[in-house]
Symmetry: C2
Subunit: 424 residues, 2 copies
């Protein structure tokens, strides 16, 4: 039933029906949260063996309790390199949050510049390109730093490379771009080979232009036997002689413990030398005990694959619970679109223009918390007010089914209201 | 035997004798390190029970494996508050390094200003006062940020408050001062009550002037039954209405694991709100699993006291080994002075002017590594070239005795050379 084909009278009937349903949910007093990409308890239990580890000494004989080793245990770099697909020597292991490594990279650029260039903080204006919809915490860093953000549209192959190529070539104040290249947050798409090749071949006017390649979901498959294939940006950059362009971020937050994992960044030798110089002023080194625990746990599991399959088994039914309800409730209504992701942590859901805020507010009224509408856009401003990010990882499949029914109901109600405004 | 009273001939005889001894040591091929305040293995073993802890859930029911709790576990704040002597509500728990919290505070001030003031990075010049000798890693932060450092002399009561009061009142570009108020790095002195009171009563021209109160050794006694008494700066500031002035730093690096402890900073509610706003952009939260381990370990030990007594028992003989040799070899020679610290991690040693670099180089030649001469001064420039920082925590008492004999020998040799230059 295409809502757009309904008459005013039919819309009013439908509204009455939906409102009655709304009141029923209201009376039920639900408490459900699909707002953040937070792993569920069963996922956290996958890595429980980490806590059995009482070792203090690394394979090369370093007492991890003591000061030292700024850039992280070399043995752990070797293991992370498998997932990050970069040479171990190009990795810096940080604390628990890749976000903090992104923040550090940008802070250093703001304060000191990159490779001898003018500090970004000394410019009148510095700009970042932001493929949208995207990750709110990326945008928050730019906003705090006073970096102007420019929306770049995205399709199933990744961001609009024509626009990106043109803009970075012309504007020396464009210093960076945020990318989540695989199972993107929130759209779930994976950049095509051509997109990655074009990134590696960018010819930015700014020598200190950097690609912030947040590969947060690089091994986070829902269907491990049929993974999306992301071309290796680092290899492509090496071929193009542009290996100073990318900073490649990774963490085990959604592999071991969300708040107690290890994060890492990979960069060219020149970038890494500069990054280490700055980090060495800030700290003597991250917590290597946690690095050692992770090393032993990952080695005991033969790397990442078997661990990630356990995550997939827990996440897949949750994603499917949401998608099944969306299909059943909204297919052929013409009032919403969504993508079926094959990995990552999110389902990106689009309402009719102008409805997302109302839908999120109505859901909240019924006890279902979603990521704030607009959060997936710079400055929290979704120009169409249509994108909603669904995070299905934490609730149970049953809770998700119920929460998604509420989402569908609120979407229908908001759509009927929007259509009534224009219906004859 | 006062070296200054020796004739040229006597000095030459002495030089021959010392040179023979030097050659003997050289042949011995020592490998000893008194350069950094790194705990020894036995100290790290004090906290081994931390590794037995497999709990994941905080007393208030939070699963510490997951995302969340930006400012740290409230229950751990309560325990840290005992040592930090500040209200638990004013504490922010960071990662493993208090240095990183200092770096963060200064980065935020450089990038964003404090309390609505102009970002420090927007000034032509910003200055910090640096009581000397002091901690090289403090100075390195200022140097990297381009903050001009001004030496402030120190005596047994702390830094020269007359000069500090005058300078901060007159110069709006003086934005901070580095202090290690108890068992200072490297001098081992503890600020007098009057010094602390005068700090709390400072009337800086800059509203965004901050005292960086690095209370790294606040409970690090060598003689726990006779601890130095440091007046509580935070309380004094509250009395004076200047509680926005201090940032008070603390860590368990020298209580549990040097590289795997927890660090914290305490500040006024206004400062804390601002600090949390910035930190919240950088990270979702530090590793709370390590916070939980620390909470349980500290509670199981009834707080800090029994743990710190174990450290004292390990450190005291090491300090005494060094001090005994210094007394035996150099008392009444007139060529060196040092302080007998009652806590902390260092012995500050002063040679005749112009000798420190030569002494450190000669020691290194004999296989004894000391902190680089000059490191205890901003820009690595000790105007008198006389201060050497001795870090006796890590080697055994026997190794320390041997290393200190080498230090004494090299000091004598350099002194004889210096005196020969002026002797008749």
């Amino acid at each position: 039933m295409m809502y757009q084909n309904l008459s005013r009278a039919q819309l009013l009937d439908l509204k009455n029906e939906l409102t009655a349903e709304y009141e029923k949910y209201k009376a039920a007093g639900l408490k459900l949260d699909m707002s953040r990409g937070r792993p569920g308890k069963a996922q956290l239990d996958i890595a429980l063996d980490i806590l059995d580890d009482k070792s203090c000494v690394s394979p090369s004989g370093f007492d991890c309790r003591n000061y030292g080793i700024l850039d992280g245990l070399p043995e752990l770099k070797e293991v992370l390199a498998e997932a990050m697909r970069v040479p171990a020597a190009n990795i810096f292991i940080g604390e628990n949050a890749s976000l903090a490594l992104m923040y550090a990279s940008i802070s250093f650029a703001m304060l000191f510049g990159i490779g001898g260039s003018k500090p970004w903080g000394k410019y009148e204006k510095v700009k970042f390109l932001c493929p949208v919809p995207g990750y709110d915490r990326h945008f928050a860093i730019c906003e705090e730093m006073g970096i102007e953000m420019i929306n770049i549209s995205t399709n199933e192959n990744g961001p609009d490379m024509d626009t990106i190529e043109k803009m970075v070539a012309e504007d020396e104040t464009i210093k960076g771009i945020w990318c989540v290249p695989k199972y993107s947050n929130p759209t779930g798409i994976t950049y095509s080979d051509e997109t990655v090749k074009r990134f590696a071949a960018l010819k930015p006017a700014a020598k200190d232009f950097r690609i912030f390649w947040d590969n947060a979901y690089c091994i986070h498959e829902l269907y491990p036997d049929n993974p999306a294939q992301l071309l290796n940006l680092y290899d492509e950059c090496v071929k193009n002689g542009t290996e100073d362009m990318p900073y490649i971020f990774f963490s085990t937050s959604k592999i071991t413990f969300a708040g107690g994992g290890v994060a890492a960044v990979a960069m060219s030798s020149a970038n890494l030398a500069e990054f280490k110089k700055h980090m060495g002023v800030r700290t003597i080194g991250a917590d290597k005990m946690n690095q050692l625990r992770h090393l032993n746990f990952l080695k005991a599991n033969g790397g990442f694959d078997s661990i990630m399959r356990k995550h997939a088994d827990l996440l897949r039914p949750r994603f499917e619970a949401v998608l099944d309800i969306l299909d059943a409730e909204l297919a052929d209504t013409g009032i919403a679109t969504w993508i079926r992701p094959a990995g990552g942590y999110f389902i990106s859901f689009d309402t009719l223009p102008g409805c997302a805020k109302k839908v999120v507010a109505a859901c909240r009224d019924l006890g279902v918390v979603l990521t704030g509408a607009g959060a997936t856009y710079p400055y929290g401003r979704d120009p169409k007010d249509s994108n909603i990010r669904i995070a299905p990882s934490s609730p149970s499949a049953e809770e998700l089914a119920q929460a998604t029914k509420v989402l569908c109901l609120c979407t229908k109600l908001a759509s009927v209201d929007a259509l009534l405004e224009t219906a004859e």
